[in-house]
Symmetry: C2
Subunit: 385 residues, 2 copies
């Protein structure tokens, strides 16, 4: 096998564009100097556009989970009741964090692989009238589901005063997000997915309504105190030492996204999803989710006549290509193909061509080339075809 090649097609971390790697390799600078302030001043408006908010998007040197925890400890008081919409492993994580802080936590559970429905929420809102926050996952990485955040938020807003808190780690930057327009209160993302960076930065958008709650919330927090982050960010600085290399990379990645055009970035992700789904359909290999629930950033596949783990081993051993397996209840049952961030139609075609070989080697009955053909046809139709 060709040494030194890695084909990374897991749902994060995603591959790093060369110019982002080069940006991250810059020499260190003082994080209290003008250069750092200039960089933050450049980053701030670009992040706000991606989150669809006029408010500041805080940048924490931490992984996405710290962003989720920051949402909990800032926006939920110790005595609050909350509702968590769980449709996979990352919904569960939100619930785990809430329970760790002894917050009274209700769960609205959706079958893994399905999106949460507005009707489920309606029932839960009626059942728990005192909830102060609703947590949901935008893209559920563990199943490849994109939850209808806009519709869910509209329903919650129409029935309740609860804050709406969204985990957008594995899709924001790859799918459209309109925090202000949709009435989302806290939206969390991370650097290692559609933002085309290594892990290590969490991004947290906060609505005016949420700031009011945060300002009076007695829940203790220090590093994760979003007010400190906001107050510093408004002066183009940070409360604690920032991971500067990741910020250099973030600045470049945001430039790349604006150069491509945010609309084009979202269209590309949509196209990649359609190409991937068409390919597996043509191959006769079942998808975990229905089209309406599918995320543009990751596709979960549930093979019927071969073992997902055998396929993953062939990919790794013969092509140095990584796709993800299933988590928890889906362990050994699915594999997940990431197509977020630095991923082109050419990359998707490569992944399908290689996966076809691995399916054949894993004992799946397919016609070689038919998945690629379907993906090629989808490309030729275009995203609106």
């Amino acid at each position: 096998m060709l040494i030194d090649q890695q084909i990374l097609r897991i749902p994060g971390p995603s591959p790093i564009p060369p110019s982002v790697s080069r940006a991250m390799a810059q020499p260190m600078i003082g994080h209290r100097g003008q250069s750092t302030s200039d960089m933050l001043a450049d980053i701030r408006p670009k992040l706000k556009r991606i989150f669809g908010t006029a408010q500041e998007v805080q940048i924490l040197t931490a992984s996405g989970t710290a962003g989720l925890e920051a949402a909990v400890v800032n926006a939920v008081a110790p005595e609050d009741e909350v509702l968590v919409i769980v449709s996979g492993a990352f919904g569960e994580r939100f619930a785990d964090i809430c329970r760790t802080y002894h917050i009274k936590t209700h769960i609205a559970e959706t079958e893994w692989g399905k999106a949460a429905a507005v009707s489920d929420i309606t029932e839960a809102l009626e059942a728990y009238p005192n909830i102060k926050a609703v947590f949901m996952t935008y893209c559920e990485t563990s199943t490849g589901v994109l939850n209808p955040v806009k519709e869910l938020a509209a329903e919650i807003r129409s029935k309740s005063e609860a804050l709406i808190i969204v985990d957008g780690v594995s899709c924001i930057g790859g799918v459209e997000t309109k925090m202000d327009e949709w009435g989302l209160d806290i939206v969390v993302s991370g650097s290692q997915k559609a933002f085309m960076l290594p892990a290590g930065l969490a991004f947290i958008g906060v609505s005016e309504r949420a700031w009011k709650k945060i300002e009076t919330n007695p829940q203790p927090r220090f590093y994760l105190d979003l007010q400190k982050h906001r107050d510093n960010l408004l002066k183009d600085t940070t409360p604690y030492t920032p991971a500067l290399s990741l910020h250099f990379g973030l600045q470049r990645a945001l430039e790349l996204m604006e150069e491509e055009g945010l609309e084009n970035v979202y269209t590309r992700h949509e196209l990649l999803m359609k190409m991937a789904r068409s390919a597996f359909k043509a191959l006769g290999v079942p998808l975990l989710t229905v089209d309406e629930d599918a995320s543009p950033t990751v596709t979960a596949v549930q093979p019927a006549d071969f073992e997902a783990e055998v396929l993953r081993n062939v990919l790794k051993k013969e092509f140095a290509m990584e796709v993800a397996g299933g988590q928890k209840v889906l362990a050994n049952k699915i594999f997940r193909l990431g197509h977020m961030g630095y991923c082109s139609p050419a990359d998707l075609l490569q992944a399908i061509a290689v996966i076809e070989i691995a399916i054949a080697k894993a004992g799946g009955e397919i016609q070689l080339g038919s998945g690629v053909r379907a993906a090629q046809q989808e490309y030729l139709k275009g995203v609106n075809g």
Copy 2:
């Protein structure tokens, strides 16, 4: 289009492996220090293995053409007669260099796209009994032909005392070369092809027989004086300032080749050639060369029902993928797919999948996916299938 992606599939320069890029980014060191000597001591035996020689392989900070010129000015005296076997643009370059030095130059021309035949050489050797050197091209980059260097050399050795001088720029490192066993006298290669580096280094292997000629050759040369290079290299140093970054990269690239195993490297190139050729055959798009003449490092395609230049434009514009066009008499008639050096079966499949789309857009009548399927089948058969 995804910004910052470049899919480089021309027959050189070829893509650079990440660890080679990292190696080249090392800080500068003094080129007269022990570290440089240690590096050269590490490089020397590895280069000799690739050239298949017990003699030193000189390393010049220069592009491949300087390596060809070094062969001429070192091994050919001003009054000598030489024979150049021309089967494409790079054969012509050897002739141009000889003529520039007013050397009496005979040509044995082969149709572009065909390999030189032993019988052609036999005739030329009889026609020009006084020749002191025969020049030939191992892989003719302009046509994707691999000339039968071993057989041609055997014929020349059996009929003549002429030195045998080989341009191996676009294949050595990707195809087996046994300089000593095959009786080759001077073999030239360059860094930017199968060696997985940027251009800037020329490698020149020299036989014992050639050294004897070189030592008494009155042709003036200074920078290209191979004796100076050899005498210094034997002491692990260089006569003039070496391109150190490229040497750092060379050291790492040679490590990668040894880690993969030279036999495996050659088998991989053979497989890539078979995959590419099977794909175009299945698509019904004519190849320029017959199987027996084909090079494992580059495949030339001569489309019948669409314009090669239209295809190249689609590839560049929609996929940031570069394949080469035709040169001189083949301009606008062919395109050339490079698959040398840092190129895996997964990369080849990607190239074919993307080229299929471009063929369709260029108006070629093909069945989408059928080229990929043929390449996948070739992969599953393996190189000896």
